[in-house]
């Protein structure tokens, strides 16, 4: 198989699977006459998506803003923390357990507290989502800043490079592939964090994102709208991941093995 065919099949194969699954789903729903308040068919979901677009798009904007703000915060905090970590092993050893603690504590368990403490719903939700998205940024960037070619480090030392020169000319570029690996994970996590936090905040919150629509639709047994909201969340997750991947590719394509086509 030539490289060209390969690239196309990379896109077409999963797309084909998707089409088959959707047709199968529609087929089952039609043949067995499944009521739409149990499982709506994909066609109904699509129609609902269009019909409820003004409502859903407003919610999408809310959830997307929370996720993007959280991702931005996670990137800034994660990179800053990583920079602090690589300054000394002692600092890393004393702080890393707390970063891990943040990572292993289920967000649903601390979200109510954060929502009580931070009165404004939007910042509260952003904080929750940031906590979910933060750790991969810290862990990957730290690993990257440490994964420097030993020979290049020696070269910098031989030429009496300052700490800053070594950091910005050597450690930062070396860390980029790791940073982007973290970004791809965190982009998805920021959305998951936003949705989970919205769920915890419940319908009482004034920020009405997609999770709010799912809760409302569930209460009203408006299952097609629930599915439509679900589809939007998934699509947003895929879009965030694709954007992170594109950014990584644009930055690394010239030199990093991960982006060079075989």
């Amino acid at each position: 198989m030539s490289a060209g065919t390969n690239r196309w099949s990379l896109v077409l194969a999963p797309l084909g699977v998707g089409v088959v699954v959707i047709l199968f789903w529609q087929g089952l729903v039609t043949v067995f006459d499944v009521p739409s308040y149990l499982v709506p068919g994909p066609w109904l979901v699509a129609k609902t998506l269009v019909a409820d677009w003004s409502l859903l798009s407003a919610s999408l904007l809310v959830t997307l803003s929370i996720a993007l703000l959280a991702l931005l915060a996670a990137v800034v905090l994660g990179v800053a923390t990583a920079f602090v970590f690589v300054q000394s092993r002692a600092v890393e050893m004393s702080l890393l357990p707390y970063a891990v603690l943040l990572q292993v504590t289920p967000i649903v368990a601390i979200a109510p507290l954060i929502i009580i403490w931070v009165r404004d719903p939007l910042p509260a939700l952003v904080i929750c989502a940031t906590i979910v998205a933060l750790f991969p940024m810290i862990a990957n960037t730290t690993l990257g800043l440490r994964s420097v070619d030993r020979g290049l480090l020696d070269l910098f030392r031989m030429n009496r490079a300052s700490r800053w020169q070594t950091l910005f000319r050597l450690r930062v570029p070396s860390a980029l592939p790791y940073f982007f690996a973290g970004l791809k994970v965190s982009s998805g996590l920021s959305l998951i964090g936003a949705v989970v936090a919205e769920f915890v905040a419940g319908t009482g919150g004034t920020a009405s994102g997609l999770a709010y629509q799912i809760l409302q639709a569930g209460l009203q047994l408006n299952i097609p709208r629930l599915f439509a909201a679900l589809v939007l969340i998934t699509a947003t997750g895929v879009a965030l991941f694709a954007a992170a991947s594109l950014l990584a590719w644009l930055t690394l394509r010239r030199w990093h093995e991960s982006t060079i086509a075989a």
């Binding site: 070619d149 030392r157 031989m158 030429n159 020169q165 000319r169 030199w255």
Partner: protein, 254 residues
Amino acid sequence: MHKVTDDGPATALELSQVSHVHANGVRALDTVDLLVRRAEFLTFIGPSGCGKSTLLRIAAGLVAPSQGAVRRADEDATAFVFQSATLMPWARVAKNVALPLELAGAPATDREARVAEALARVGLSDFAQALPRELSGGMQMRASIARALVIAPRLLLMDEPFGALDEITRGRLDRELLDLWQERRFTTLFVTHSLVEAVFVSSRVLVMSPRPGRIAAELVIDEPHPRDDGFRLSARFAALCGQLQSLMLRAGAA
């Protein structure tokens, strides 16, 4: 780039009673005494793990020996060429070669001229804007040498620089290195595990014993320069190789 002139002391490097134990307890070097004359081409040969790299890193000032003293005549003009080319993969060749000058804060115009000259000297002028991954192994090594040349080194340390290359490329780079050395007269400390390469390039070969490394024997190669393929094919070359082989056998180094 200026030629190294005879204005300094005759000794380029002196190691006295140098021993080294690594942090993990491995004894890498045992009481090494070494006097390197200016403009000498000195080669270390010995089995893998005998401490050759450690010795070079100590000579470079990258590692402080656990015991003994190191005196270098030219602290600032020391360049290191590693076994792999160790180029920054994200930077173009010219940028890689310019690195030592940039780190030292040399003005941009001066930098460009010196980089262009160094690249021309190793025959990479046409590849200044290439990325390292676009070069062959031999060309990457040339870029690495250009990066060493750019600071006009008085002491050049080379740790198995051509060890990863094929025999033909290695032979060519050996000749090019000798030309450079003839022209610039920097002091060279060279590590190899190739007996043939050692005899061809060196003015003096030191045989190291297995770990902990000591200097077990010395062979002076008093063949005049320039050396060419005629020397490589001569009976004298074969005799010197034989001599070095037997020294290595006696040292337990082969």
